[in-house]
Amino acid sequence: MTADAGGLPSARLIRLFLTGRRVPAALAAVVACALLLRIALHWPWNTYGARQLPLIIETGCAAAIAITAASPFGDVERVTGRWLPLLRLGIAVALTPVAAGALIVAGTGVHLAGGASEVLRNTAGLTGIGLLCAAVLGGALTWTGPIAYLVLGVYALYTRWHPPALSTPWIWPGRPGHDVGAAICAGLVFAAGLALITVRGARDPVGDRG
């Protein structure tokens, strides 16, 4: 890790860091998800399908963002500089609104069930779950949390038409976009994920299971 004389990380350092974390690939995945959403929204969907679709795409974006938490260098990287936590935080903080923005733009002009607020809430919450998985399970398995939560979220949506409905705000996809409790829960999970990934980074820096 290198830094300018003034103490700020150099552009080269940032570029190398982003490349090492596969941020360009993650951005490409986010753009692909947004395009998929745009194309899919032109099809006729029933109410349940229209709410499922954005959630599934949001999970794809969140998984792609969380994957960037995995480091290919591990301890070697951890001891080389003090900017690492900030860079880890920066990636997650920057990519999450980019992903939410891309999906909102993809839904502009067509009917995006739940609207922008649900996209922002779900993307942030799912990304938080992915970051927590990176810190607890390891960078290799970041995707398991968002995907498991996706199944729960889709089930929560299903129960809106097939009672008893899952009403806990911790399963926020089942709640409407203006629900404050759900937004707080998603925000807390996102904040916890950010905090943990900033302080500790992904758990298994070298190699992976399997």
């Binding site: 599934i56 794809g60 998984a63 792609a64 995907i147 498991a148 729960l152 399997g210």
Partner: protein, 472 residues
């Protein structure tokens, strides 16, 4: 078989090293939260519980298994060992199949454990019938296919992004496939999510009086087996997968798999709603499955005995209590039924995804007459609470019974309307004033006097020879 025999030590090694086993506890937890809770929330009937299990269990296992298989498939590339293992004696296809088999094996073990527990609970609670195995078989057959799908993606594109993206893509395709199911476009019924007529949904009226039709499950299992073979066979076609004979075998497996998947999709495309509420496929249909299943009804000793199919024995007290007041009024009247007997629902599909569910014939049949009853819970729709069920039976079945008895099943006369209101003790607010007065007069009579009057005049009333003035 050759590949399998050669790879047994490798398979044991892969089973020990496979990380899918660490994903089993979370999968089991999600299964409990979604499949187990939802299934056991239904009434203790094998049909609804097993069929709802098939749909939800595939949803639970599919994304995790696709992701795990993709992750395992990209292991050699992620660790930079592709060249190292390429020079081992074992053909690459054989190594890959061992990894896929280990991943599938762990998933199947978890599946069998989860479904086994659920089926044990259903068996303990269900009043009648035995396990419906076809929903469990379709769910089990979907696991190798999803593992093969993820595995093929992981082999073709070994990247850390592959596992989550292919898992989510598979989930998206799976969930959206059911959006495309229509009577006039039934090919998507081949999806393992589909356990019965998709437009009807969870329905207590099927697979009780008649067998659970295996037509669609056979098509689904054939499709899933074909898909698995095609995907795994395709991996053996690439250069370096193995020797010439091995690649030829892989080609044969791929072609056979594609053919099986295509034929099965064609079968699903010919599937239609049968009169008993299941999907019948002409090429696979066994006419023996159309014969009703014999059973000994469970009855309640009311004024007129109420008898239900033993699978619905849990409803008997509520049904009997709901009908008891009406049955006391009509018992012993000329033409009154000697028994109220639950009947099978008959299904009819119409244009634009419409369907109808009802009795196959008239409500009153036979000599001596038996009144055919269709429970509200036999009709498609959400599960009704007990109070709602009682109220619906009292209103609908009670009214139908009295209407048939007084001959008012079509265009009732004022006298027939008045008698119906008196027997059912319903409000007279909607009747015209003269009819309402006549109904109130009859209602005010002591029950025994009303019964005697009905016994004397019911034949004339049924023949529409009675006027309002002739009502006491």
């Amino acid at each position: 078989m050759t590949i399998a025999a050669l790879s047994m030590p490798l398979l044991r090694l892969e089973l020990r090293r496979n990380p899918t086993r660490w994903m089993l506890p979370p999968i089991a937890a999600v299964f409990w939260f979604i499949s187990f809770r939802a299934s056991t929330a239904y009434p203790p009937l094998w049909n609804v519980r097993a069929m709802s299990m098939q749909t939800s269990v595939v949803t639970v296992f599919a994304p995790a298994l696709v992701g795990a298989a993709a992750w395992m498939a990209s292991r050699e590339a992620r660790r930079g060992m592709t060249d190292l293992v390429a020079c081992t004696a074992r053909p690459r296809w054989g190594r890959q199949l061992a990894v896929w088999a280990a991943t599938t094996g762990w998933a199947l073990a978890a599946y069998l454990g989860c479904v086994g527990v659920l089926y044990a609970v259903i068996a303990r609670q269900a009043a009648w019938g035995g396990p419906l195995w076809w929903p469990a078989v379709v769910g089990a057959a979907s696991l190798p296919a999803f593992a093969a799908l993820g595995f093929a993606a992981g082999v073709l594109r070994p990247s850390r992004f592959t596992a989550p993206l292919v898992a989510i893509a598979a989930f998206l395709v799976l969930e959206t496939s059911v959006q495309l199911i229509h009577w006039d476009q039934p090919y998507w019924q081949v999806s393992p999510l589909v356990a019965g007529p998709w437009e009807i949904g969870t329905d207590q009226g099927v697979a009780t009086f008649y067998r659970y039709l295996p037509d669609l499950p056979i098509a689904q299992v054939t499709f899933l087996a074909g898909l698995t073979a095609a995907l795994l066979g395709g991996l053996g076609l690439t250069a370096g997968a193995g020797g010439r004979w091995l690649r030829r075998s892989a080609a044969a497996v791929t072609v056979a798999g594609l053919l099986a998947a295509g034929v099965a999709t064609g079968w699903a495309g010919t599937g239609r709603l049968d009169p008993h509420g299941m999907i019948a496929i002409p090429a696979l249909h066994d006419p023996a499955d159309d014969r009703p299943i014999g059973y000994a009804p469970v009855c309640r000793d009311t004024a007129i005995p109420v008898c239900l199919h033993p699978a619905y024995a849990g409803y008997l007290p509520a049904v009997a209590d709901a009908l008891e007041p009406v049955l006391r009024e009509v018992a012993g009247l000329p033409g009154a039924p000697v028994r109220i007997s639950q009947a099978a629902a008959t299904y009819r599909s119409g244009p634009a995804n419409e369907f109808g569910v009802g009795l196959a014939g008239p409500a009153m049949t036979g000599t001596p007459p038996v009144f055919q009853l269709l429970l509200p819970s036999q009709l498609p729709g959400p599960i009704r609470p007990r109070d709602d069920l009682v109220s619906t039976i009292r209103t609908d079945a009670g009214r139908d019974l009295v209407a048939v008895l007084v001959g008012a099943d079509r265009d009732p006369s004022p006298a027939q309307q008045a008698v119906m209101a008196a027997i059912l003790h319903t409000s007279t607010a909607r009747l015209d004033p003269d009819t309402a007065v006549a109904a109130q007069r009859l209602t005010a009579l002591p029950a025994a006097a009303r019964h005697t009057w009905l016994a004397q005049h019911l034949a004339a009333l049924r023949a529409d020879r009675l006027t309002l003035e002739q009502l006491r």
